[in-house]
Chain length 120, copies 2
Amino acid sequence: MPRIRHERFDCSPGCTVEGTLRYIDGKWKGVVLYHLFEGTLRFNEIRRRIPNCTQRMLTNQLRELEADGLIARKIYPEVPPKVEYSLTPRGRSLEPVITALKVWGDANVTLAPEISQAAA
Amino acid sequence: MPRIRHERFDCSPGCTVEGTLRYIDGKWKGVVLYHLFEGTLRFNEIRRRIPNCTQRMLTNQLRELEADGLIARKIYPEVPPKVEYSLTPRGRSLEPVITALKVWGDANVTLAPEISQAAA
DNA sequence: CATGACGGTATCCTTTTCGACACTATGTGC
DNA sequence: GCACATAGTGTCGAAAAGGATACCGTCATG
């Protein structure tokens, strides 16, 4: 069951900062959103893009993002199952935020050596 | 002892997004940074601005931010003790990120009713 | 008949996070 | 001589987050 976070933000001025953080916090949400800016993706397509995330975790993160109205989940009643994930307008509105995070990260986050290569 | 996070960011493309998140994630860090954009503050000045954060948590968050090179801690060898916290240039460079988070939050995060009033 | 792809669940367990609370040292004011 | 302010630290325990692993049904392929 996806946890319900951020019911309240009673942390004083500045709290909408924390509020936003709780939407995109959660180990894989940032990356999931990042990949969905690419366009609509199926479950296993996302999975392949984030190999270190377990299936259970990915499901959880997707469910939470969906509950927060950031992504849409479309099920095709087929066999084998087909489920597509895409950003909602609200999710897409996070793009400047994710971009700001990425810009700062690119300039300030040192990646593990083998990854820096892979990313290059 | 402040935990050491983000030793590795092996989460595939998009990971500098996660990387940045781990710097400002941690329940009170966003707010602390937000208040320090105001200027240098003493320990209890920060504390009063974030009443829901316990002393121990505030100390932890400040220590982690310091370990990450985002804030500077200046101790005056006086009695009673006086310690000032301020942003480092690296910390200040996070301003666009925090701003992006706040802009989105102001537009999209619904505050608890009594707080919306206080913020207005 | 067995295997694999698909999109998940269910269960268990460990790690991490966070809050409550008590305690510290020193100097000043009452 | 007692309380108060400052800036913390230590310990405890609950709760949440996250990882490992196994399992599900259906269809197509070999």
